[in-house]
Symmetry: C2
Subunit: 361 residues, 2 copies
Amino acid sequence: MRPSTIPDLDTPALVIDLDAMERNLRRMAEWFAGRACKLRPHAKTHKCAEVARRQVKLGAIGITCAKLGEAEAMAHGGIEDILVANQIAGELKMRRLAALARRADVTLAVDDLANAAEIGQAVRHVGATVGVLVEVDTGMGRCGVAPDAATVVRYAQELSRMPGLRFRGLMGYEGHAVLVDDPAERRAKAEAAGRTLLDCVAAVRKAGIAVEVVSGGGTGTYDITGALDGFTEIQAGSYVFMDARYSRVRPEFENALFVATTVVSRPTPDRVILDAGMKSVSQEFGLPLVVEPQGLQVVGLSEEHVKCVATAGTCGLAVGDQVWLLPTHCCTTINLHDRYWCVREGRVEATWPIEARGKSA
Amino acid sequence: MRPSTIPDLDTPALVIDLDAMERNLRRMAEWFAGRACKLRPHAKTHKCAEVARRQVKLGAIGITCAKLGEAEAMAHGGIEDILVANQIAGELKMRRLAALARRADVTLAVDDLANAAEIGQAVRHVGATVGVLVEVDTGMGRCGVAPDAATVVRYAQELSRMPGLRFRGLMGYEGHAVLVDDPAERRAKAEAAGRTLLDCVAAVRKAGIAVEVVSGGGTGTYDITGALDGFTEIQAGSYVFMDARYSRVRPEFENALFVATTVVSRPTPDRVILDAGMKSVSQEFGLPLVVEPQGLQVVGLSEEHVKCVATAGTCGLAVGDQVWLLPTHCCTTINLHDRYWCVREGRVEATWPIEARGKSA
């Protein structure tokens, strides 16, 4: 599928296998086709407007972002319906958010009423509104209010009354479930988290408040959480490209993202050094894997060096040869690069800017 | 020294404490003042032309880079004498290198004669030359030819005859020594590596070939390797900003680089979530430390969340408050950001672009 050398690549190059990516996009779209629950893909993975537009074209109801800066980049790229599945705080952020709310349909996760009031005031000041979802901690222990019906109902009531805000529903992210290797355990954890959120939804409705949006899920749980009656949207991100870590839990999607590197040194017959490193491939989920050529193993990363050894005998490589790596974490690897090199049938078909790269603010 | 909140910062913000940075720059310049061995600071740390120009103004003889893209950015920023302390390979790289060699004084590390010949041919094609240093593996086990006198002499002879190249000397980087905590062990390892390189230098000179440059060293070893008779330049980088890891071996320099963050969630009285994460602060040398306020500890990073807990009792923080982090690895943290926020006496004095961020190709 991948030729061992594409001379047009200026390595280390972040490469998309376009055929594989397109199959991933279609496969996920097909799972959601005709369901009550819709796909709202997470742009924190790809950070690229071209990929987001393709997801929307295939049926996604909008895009999820992790940060305001990502949302700005996606709006600039033509995406109109954006969920920032995260809290936004700070004076400068309020001004940027207000400006964004004037040109896109923005919904935010909130878990603090004073913060929500500040947001409402800021967007109202420019004549706009934003939607809000109460984030509920469904077991991950990160952000979100406690999954206590009385608390969540109180939040829904207060938010419904705040100027500048449209209370739209609830959100809970089962981040503690998405990467569980054992399928039965993953299902149990995701279903427990999902039911916790749905119990809160029922309590809010019982209090007479409409709940339009129930949002959660990820690539590891899309077909579990997305099948629970009551969820309206799933925030899966990694399925578009996958990586060595996610492949363990989601074999139905293909690895479509690679880092093409060049051998810059062959100090001994059984060792080569590649021109990637910590600054071009992430390692918090483990060392990247060599996908081509066979018989080579990554044993360590420096900032700008990947050290590889032959698994047996010698490497059979010379300085200038290409070696293709499979990242173990696509999201953080992508965040190191400014562009994708899009490859089909062994040729570079396009390069796409990664507009939201580094947009953590 | 650092106020707990600077509202002008759009967090997560990479902050330079300008006073501390300037003291670090002066302290290192003073150590080298009047010595035979000179400072050639490594720009892979700061990736910023403004910092590089200040280093040169304080006496540095030029700049070290890890990658061709960094060297291009530094040349564009007005740096005229550049060592790329790394191998460069691949067809596209040869063309870029040739273009760069026409507008800056470029020297490269080489450890492969076929690669060196290709480089010579490429630069000669545009009427330029590049300097070359033979990289010798002095114990790190990464790139470089074996520290064998006959081999190194042969390389020097061959390189001296190659059109387009100027053989200038030898390089060896004691990366296995720079972060050794125990000072005596660090000294022993650095001196052994340095002597290995100097033995090769003697052999090349004995063969009748002039050796103008003997390059090596880092922040952890600048005053060890830099004091060995025969070294002409030291490639220290991290001293300009420091970090929690390097502070353990170099207490004479100050921490001058921080990531300012904002509390976006306070789910429980003893836990806060900050708006930084793996995409804005690196963790391969450990979790970042909280420098302000006191009584708070980082317990985990997600992509866009830092989870902190109170070391005792409650946090005493609200959503919107700032928390300042000290990175454990400045080089990879900087590579996640597009700009520095330069702070003096509690105010933002400037922002500087990080021109070489992401320039791994």
